[in-house]
């Protein structure tokens, strides 16, 4: 009997596996937007780079319950494309991704390891959810710079050696609030965020300051436990607040569960619901269902569904040709690609590739200013500063028939805490090449 039971179990599992493998995956959103044949990254000469490798690394949270590897994955895809097209004037990029597993101690260890390896010339496409502050200490000591793909905590935007390409959760939430103000939908505003130090509290602080400055009645500014499963109290508070609009500044899975709970209570009402860029990806729009038609999100870069624009088309083509089929095609992927492209475009200007080392690369990166791309709304720059927050102009999107469509084009975001940064942009001429 044991034998037959074992055989039965094996058969059942086999049947399940066959059922799984027999199913076909639907087409990926955005895929195939551009053929790989005209793909010309970097030098674009179609020749494999064979010179002395140039070592580049990235810090990313890939495991530990959060997977933020979308950014370095697209950076790697872009670097692979560059290496197939002449590299950095003949030198191929060797790219290494360190997973901090959502543990700041490990982020510090990885950063120290990268700093100690003198052959690593820069960090590009990073996306650590927890360790910008500890990483910056190591990077600063070693004179190593990071063009971060995705910065989330406050520290990622307030570090001397880290410059994110994305706008960050605070700017994203404020962009959404200001979109509602422009559309006369923010007479009573409600904000929901994550109760995490240096992230949720930073976003909530920005919401409070901007609401006060713009005369918005902030009827709720709540931070929830990341492990919360019961959204009924929050929905109840929202309904009682009389809010006309709200922004959810939580990761996409949490936002989706909040929306599912609200849908079960039929709590959408006349409130205009929205989220920050953390939920702006194609899968989110498909998953939330038709009940949420018109749901709004902020996009920190070009809309992922856009098919025009040189860099947008190249990003899609690079992902199709060089990334795994299931690698996300989201805002963070765009950010990783763009971080890689900024790095490559900058180093290609150095005429003698043999002179590229940590010192010369750092010097070249610090000098980046007025970098333009159709993915961005405004020029990006690095510059010597104790804080870096170049991306503060974003777009808005809304859900139509399970897909994101444009709701509003580029708009600069007001944040009282960024006045010094914006003044420096002008006084130092950082927005012009």
């Amino acid at each position: 009997m044991n034998r037959s039971l074992r055989a039965g179990a094996v058969l059942l599992l086999s049947a399940a596996l066959v059922a799984l493998s027999g199913c076909t995956s639907p087409d990926r959103p955005g895929g195939g937007a551009s053929g790989g044949s005209e793909l010309a990254c970097g030098l674009g000469n179609g020749q494999k780079a064979t010179g002395t490798p140039l070592k580049v690394a990235a810090l990313a949270t890939q495991s530990g319950g959060v997977d933020f590897s979308s950014s370095p994955k697209s950076t790697k895809a872009y670097f692979d494309c560059v290496n197939d097209n002449g590299g950095i004037n003949g030198r191929p990029i060797v790219y290494q991704i360190g997973d901090d597993a959502l543990d700041p101690t490990k982020t510090a260890q990885l950063a120290a390891g990268f700093a100690a390896d003198k052959d690593i010339v820069a960090l590009v496409g990073d996306a650590t959810f927890v360790g910008c502050d500890v990483a910056n200490i190591e990077l600063k000591k070693a004179g190593l710079l990071s063009i971060t793909g995705v910065g989330v905590p406050q520290a990622c935007f307030e570090s001397s050696n880290i410059a994110p390409v994305n706008a960050g959760p605070r700017t994203s939430a404020l962009a959404t609030l200001q979109y509602f103000i422009r559309n006369n939908q923010a007479s009573k505003f409600f904000a929901l965020g994550l109760n995490t130090r240096g992230n949720g509290d930073w976003v909530a602080d920005g919401i409070e300051k901007v609401a006060k400055a713009k005369g918005v009645d902030l009827v709720g500014n709540i931070l929830n436990d990341p492990n919360e499963r019961n959204w009924l109290p929050t929905i109840s508070q929202l309904q009682q607040s009389g809010a006309t609009s709200l922004v959810i500044a939580d990761p996409a899975p949490i936002t989706a569960s909040i929306l599912a709970a609200a849908e079960q209570q039929d709590a959408k009402g006349s409130i205009q619901w929205s989220c920050t860029a953390s939920c702006y990806d194609a899968q989110f729009a498909e998953q939330i269902g038709s009940y949420w038609e018109g749901f709004v999100a902020n996009s920190e870069l070009q809309l992922v569904t856009e098919t025009s624009g040189t860099d947008q088309k190249q990003w899609l083509a690079v992902m199709d040709k060089y990334a795994a089929k299931d690698a996300p095609r989201d805002t963070f992927s765009q950010a990783g690609y763009l971080a890689g492209k900024i790095f490559v475009d900058t180093l290609l200007k150095v005429s003698d590739p043999a002179t590229l080392n940590r010192e010369t690369v750092t010097k070249a990166l610090l000098a980046i200013k007025g970098y333009t791309s159709d993915l961005l709304c405004a020029p990006w720059y690095y510059g010597e500063a104790e804080e870096h927050h170049a991306n503060h102009a974003t777009r808005m999107a809304k859900v139509e028939n399970g897909k994101w469509v444009s709701a509003e084009g580029c708009q600069d975001v007001d944040d009282p805490d960024m006045d010094a940064i914006k003044q420096a942009e002008q006084s130092k001429g950082l927005l012009v090449p």
Binding site: M1, C23, G65, A256, P328
Partner: protein
């Protein structure tokens, strides 16, 4: 504040606790294994169900297949690990299942990225207002299913030959084996039943709550509290415990001052039950296995 939505939500989550609690309890009574991988098995079932629906398999077929996968996964673990688990003490048995849970969780995190996912049962689309609350058909099914499974389990244990064998094993495993009970068959049946219940619970929970591997894996925590209320012995007390914990948890969450502590309710209830039992000289696990 209208408390009815909280009462409905509490009864629904409580009924899923109770349903899972029955699965955990039957397995525990039969094999002596406190299966800490129960939530993970349900989680994997729900994730596969989502994947199959994405691949355009008919939802009812996908859900049925995933309940079968839950049963097969638990049965496979029982078949492979059961003979070894039979020789070790209960604490180490539970730890072994914790390893199984972490292996399943790791597999889920590897197989699926952390993008947003929702699993909507067709029954959740059918809803009606009830005194300011919104009740959908899935809510009703959760409650009815928990009660039905408890009744079915009680009747099966009392009147079927397999149930008698399960009770014999629960009373004295060695003696039951000497008297000719097919221990392996009974244990494997319990594993499969428990796995199927985990699969159903996982799918219901994914619809009502969060479709996330970690959230579904750690769903075992309130379920364990439910089994503690059932004193590792009573199916009816497990049902009442599940409903009670769900209800109190939800009502506590409605009170803004205490809302953040609502997740502590299962621990508080379980601790209170253990302390009360000790005061009366009863140590629940010992009673069952003595």
């Amino acid at each position: 504040m209208n408390l009815l939505p909280f009462i409905v939500a509490g009864l629904v989550s409580g009924s899923v606790y109770a349903l899972s609690g029955v699965g955990v309890l039957v397995l525990y009574r039969t094999t002596g294994v406190l299966n800490l991988a129960h939530g993970a098995i349900g989680g994997l079932s729900a994730m596969i169900a989502w994947q199959l629906v994405q691949w355009e398999l008919q939802p009812p077929v996908a859900f049925a297949l995933c309940v079968a996968i839950g049963a097969a996964l638990a049965l496979a673990f029982g078949l492979v690990a059961g003979p070894f688990l039979a020789r070790i003490d209960e604490l180490r048995k539970a730890i072994a299942t914790l390893g199984f849970a972490l292996a399943i969780l790791g597999t889920m995190l590897y197989a699926w990225n952390d993008k947003a996912r929702t699993l909507r049962l067709p029954t959740s689309q059918i809803s009606f207002p009830l005194g300011g609350a919104r009740v959908n058909l899935t809510h009703v099914i959760c409650l009815a299913l928990a009660v039905a499974v408890v009744i079915a389990a009680v009747l099966a244990l009392r009147y079927s030959a397999l149930g008698a064998s399960m009770r014999a094993l629960a009373s004295d495993r060695e003696l039951a084996a000497v008297l000719g009970t097919n221990v392996r068959l009974v244990e494997n049946t319990a594993w499969a039943f428990s796995g199927a219940v985990a699969g159903v619970s996982g799918i219901l929970l994914a619809d009502q709550n969060r479709l996330e591997p970690a959230a579904l894996t750690f769903f075992i925590i309130p379920v364990l509290a439910t089994v503690v209320v059932g004193r590792f012995a009573s199916l009816w007390l497990t049902l009442l415990g599940g409903l009670g914990i769900g209800l109190v948890e939800s009502l506590v969450s409605s009170w803004t001052v205490l809302s953040a502590f609502s997740t502590a309710v299962p621990f508080v209830v379980a601790t209170a039950v253990i302390l009360a039992s000790r005061r009366r000289g009863v140590i629940p696990i010992g009673v069952v296995r003595a």
